[in-house]
């Protein structure tokens, strides 16, 4: 899907949304992922706590403009993720 790094996962280089069953959602550039973890670069982590934007509102804005990087690298345990999809699919 737009990458020529054959030693990486299909989504390498693609900005993805990693959703969780809880209030947390991650957005970042996928570096790699396997059955254990998802590695994101230049990532943001949003907690949809009371008083904060909902996941839907946060992702709608992210899909339109992108996200402000808060972490150079984030490793998401695969067990925490319920879905991984390109951010542009939400636009």
């Amino acid at each position: 899907m737009g990458t020529f790094h054959h030693d990486k996962c299909e989504l390498h280089g693609i900005t993805v949304v990693v959703d969780t069953a809880g209030s947390r959602v991650y957005v970042g550039r996928c570096d790699d992922m396997d059955e254990r973890e998802i590695v994101l670069m230049d990532a943001d982590v949003h907690e949809a706590r009371p008083g904060a934007p909902s996941k839907a509102d946060y992702l709608a804005r992210a899909a339109k403009y992108g996200v402000w990087k808060k972490h150079d690298r984030v490793v998401v345990p695969r067990a925490e993720a319920v879905s991984v999809r390109p951010l542009r699919e939400l636009a």
Binding site: G2, I14, T15, Y65, G66, K69, R88
Partner: protein, 145 residues
């Protein structure tokens, strides 16, 4: 750390050949944006093959449109870092990403193409979105480059 300039030069040439004005220093960026009137496209170039490899051909396709921005320029992220930071200051409400493209009219951003709307897409699709923005906001007749 910036890449070897020789490695990057073909990526610069790919867009300057299209008529984009390269802004290598912050003062060049300020001079470019000093004139607020009219339409401006700024392309933030990048080494990243996953996205910029599609963005540059998309730009080539889009610049064949019948109407174009009045002025078109480029900075190179990760290479000309001061110039890129200064360019981004002119649309500071948008999270930085590269490659990306900003279309401004009278100093205000009217269309922005962030990296995630470039990566993984074919150049024609990226160009289609850009052309729609040109048609909506620009008036200068293109020259079918």
């Amino acid at each position: 750390m910036p890449y070897d300039p020789q490695l990057v030069q073909p990526m610069r040439d790919e867009v300057t050949r299209l008529g984009l004005v390269e802004l290598p220093q912050a003062k060049d960026v300020d001079a470019f944006f000093a004139k607020r009137e009219g339409t401006v496209l700024l392309f933030i170039n990048s080494v990243c093959g996953c996205a910029a490899g599609g963005a540059r051909p998309a730009l080539r396709i889009a610049l064949q449109n019948e109407v174009l921005p009045e002025r078109i320029a480029t900075v190179f992220a990760g290479q000309d870092t001061d110039a890129t930071a200064r360019a981004r200051s002119y649309f500071a409400d948008f999270p930085p990403s590269s490659p990306s493209m900003a279309l401004l009219k009278d100093g205000e951003v009217v269309h922005f193409v962030p990296r995630h709307m470039i990566e993984g897409r074919d150049p024609a699709s990226i160009a289609f979105d850009l052309v729609q923005a040109f048609d909506k906001h620009c008036a200068r007749a293109g020259s079918k480059r």
